[in-house]
């Protein structure tokens, strides 16, 4: 067990002790407690009882690090016995040091009725974005043991179907967005656009029974290899007769395809590449390189990049993909993304303690899944069509922002992106991993203010507008089908720039409803692809 000692610079606590003991003035001898503190190398536990909160005065977070109410055992941990107050003081100081909007936090006394989780929930900005949404929707915690789990790249556990909710209260509308090609879902005949009506005979659409909802959620979040459930589904376009074809699926380890599919569309005005890119995982490095080689061989002169279900991941993969689109001429000497921390850290990353340097467009493999140093192919395009949705997030938005920053035209087809130009280094303390926004990613021209997302010009939504068209997700057609509404709009826009189908009402655009996450409690079940981009069923309000 480690116990931390205090330096002579620990003035606040020293003065607190003096105050608590009635000392600190005159010529009288220091009181006994102070003698003990000054003569015996005081530890955190010696001084915690004497802590006096002073708003705006912060101790070094390191002083409170690993001081735990319930320390973990094991040589890999530096935890030592303290109390919850110490953990809250650590949260307060750590937030003050690294939170992007530290100066917008109301400084609250840690010695309050709030437990550490409730206290942490308050350590964020109350500001809102131009659309009125909370600026920080990304504040949360998770059990460290669960957060730190590793997976083989691209491997998830579940059925291999990605779901989206159009409505999450009765009558619920839950659809299959896509299925992984090699998966139990594909094997059982499940397809994009199917609406799930029942699971194991339980009415998913209408039930209000808490017990049934619990069973549905359990089925959507399998935990055991081979766990089997039966889905009753309604195929797109079929009439609802009340009787549904049954599909039996068993949970298993699924090897997902970051590039779900790609194709070359031969048009009168040239070949157009289309690819569905769903996940910035390490295996994407090799897959993307192979796909871009094929697109080069196919002499494409335009690209439609489908990111509607891509919530981000490895930022380096986004950089490589942006390079493979734009090529040397557009990216030489340019910045992909620079991380900007709060104004206490203008030059040094406060987490890694390394100098902040602009992130480049990576032109070579980094050894993730392709041998490091291999030159990546590039299409050398000056414009790209990107299909987007509310699930287009983080690293996916970095692709859009970085290309914009170097003058590559991005034509956005679909819906407003999620609006997350921010990031963080997850931080463990005492067995809890905390997520607090620490940096903003800015592009070559220093822009990164897209908190309300990027949105097509005619969407009618608040956000950074880009040329393009607002188009609903067309679940009636397969991804890559030229008749699928978003791809069709991209191809039509290409032939007649500036023309779009009639936009849907702004309120009907999003198929994934984003709700405030200020009380976020992350759930490990979300590693399962079957619920991964969706939600747990909620009890009726």
């Amino acid at each position: 067990m480690l116990r931390k000692s205090f330096s002579s610079g620990f003035l606040l606590l020293s003065s607190a002790i003096l105050t608590a003991c009635g000392g600190g003035g005159g010529n009288s001898s220091p009181p006994a407690v102070m003698q003990a503190v000054t003569n015996q190398d005081p530890t955190l536990n010696d001084v915690l009882p004497f802590m006096i909160f002073e708003a705006g005065v912060f101790e070094d977070a390191e002083i409170f690090a690993n001081a735990c109410e319930n320390p973990r055992s094991g040589s890999q941990y530096d935890d030592f016995q303290a109390n919850e107050l110490a953990e809250k003081y650590w949260l307060r100081s750590w937030s003050n040091e690294t939170y992007l909007w530290y100066d917008e936090i109301t400084d609250l006394d840690p010695d309050s009725a709030y437990d550490k989780f409730a206290y942490f929930d308050l350590l964020k900005t109350p500001a809102v974005t131009p659309s009125g949404a909370p600026r920080d929707q990304f504040h949360g915690t998770m059990d460290t043991g669960e957060y730190q789990q590793f997976s083989q790249s691209g491997v998830t556990f579940g059925y291999g179907a990605e779901l989206i909710y159009a409505r999450n209260d009765p009558p619920r509308e839950l659809y299959i967005a896509y299925v992984e090609p090699v998966s139990p879902a594909a094997g059982s005949g499940l397809q994009r656009g199917m609406r799930i009506m029942e699971i194991d005979g339980i009415d998913l659409v209408n039930t209000t029974s808490p017990a049934e909802i619990a069973m549905l959620n359990a089925a959507l979040s399998p935990e055991t290899n081979g766990e089997t459930h039966t889905l009753g589904v309604l195929a797109s376009g079929d009439p609802d007769t009340g009787t549904y074809p049954q599909h039996e699926v068993s949970a298993a380890s699924i090897t997902t395809s970051p590039v779900l599919s790609y194709d070359i569309k031969n048009t009168a005005s040239g070949n157009v590449g289309y690819l569905v890119f769903n996940n910035h995982v390490a295996t994407a490095e090799e897959e993307l390189a192979l796909v871009f080689e094929a697109l080069l061989d196919g002499s494409v002169n335009d690209l439609v990049l489908d990111l509607r279900y891509n919530g981000g991941g490895l930022l380096a993969i986004a950089s490589q993909l942006a390079y493979m689109i734009a090529g040397d001429a557009n990216t030489n000497g340019r910045v992909f993304e620079t991380l900007e921390f709060n104004d206490k850290h203008p030059t040094t990353n406060p987490v890694t303690m390394q100098a902040i340097t602009p992130g480049p467009f990576y032109k070579q493999a980094l050894g993730f899944s392709l041998a490091a140093g291999i030159a990546l192919p590039s299409l050398e395009l000056n414009r790209v069509f990107i299909i987007s949705g509310s699930g287009t997030c983080s690293a996916s938005e970095s692709i859009i922002n970085s290309l914009n920053g170097i003058g590559v035209e991005v034509i956005l087809i679909g819906d407003t992106t999620c609006g997350k130009p921010f990031g963080f280094y997850p931080q463990d303390n005492c067995g809890t991993t905390y997520f607090t926004i620490q940096f903003k990613g800015v592009n070559d021209i220093g822009f990164g203010d897209y908190e309300d997302g990027f949105t097509p010009l005619n969407s009618g939504k608040t956000g950074i507008t880009l040329p393009g068209c607002a188009v609903l997700d067309d679940l009636s057609k397969g991804l890559g089908d030229p008749a699928e509404a978003r791809l069709a709009a991209a191809l039509a826009y290409r032939d007649a720039p500036g023309t779009c189908p009639a936009p849907p009402p702004a309120s009907s655009l999003s198929t994934i409803t984003i709700s405030p996450l200020d009380q976020l409690s992350l759930q490990p079940v979300t590693q399962d692809t079957f619920v991964r981009n969706n939600r747990i069923l909620g009890l009726p309000q």
């Binding site: 043991g145 993730f368 997350k420």
Partner: protein, 124 residues
């Protein structure tokens, strides 16, 4: 399983000193692609080298390949959006080796090596 962790170079030196057979890249036989027991041995070894309780691997892990790449499991919020959408931590790699009848797992980034008793592997 008793771990014997040491750097690859040390292992190679020891093997060379003892006149042992060569350490060669290895794979699981294709017949083991759906074998949960052998997969579990690999999962346990990797988890122990990472100080984790478990890791998630494909059923065909190391079938047809001597190296795999791992990364933090994707975690999403209650709305389905990925929590860590800008991941800055590089992925990690593990390699499977065979020497004589023994199979070894290497954590590439740390050069730690660990034998996996009971695992059957073949030279790739």
């Amino acid at each position: 399983m008793k771990p014997c962790k040491f750097p690859v170079l040390v292992l190679l030196f020891m093997l060379g000193s003892c006149g042992a057979t060569e350490l060669l890249p290895a794979q699981r036989p294709a017949s083991q692609a759906g074998d949960n027991a052998s997969k579990a041995l690999i999962e346990q070894s990797i988890a122990s080298m990472l100080n984790q309780n478990s890791v998630l691997l494909a059923d065909d892990v190391f079938v047809g390949a001597s190296e795999i790449v791992l990364e933090r499991s994707s975690v999403t919020d209650s709305e389905g959006l990925r929590i860590q959408g800008r991941e800055l931590q590089a992925p990690i790699h593990f390699r499977l080796w065979k020497q004589g009848d023994a199979c070894f797992l290497e954590y590439v980034e740390t050069e730690q090596m660990q034998e996996i008793p009971g695992l059957s592997c073949e030279v790739l």
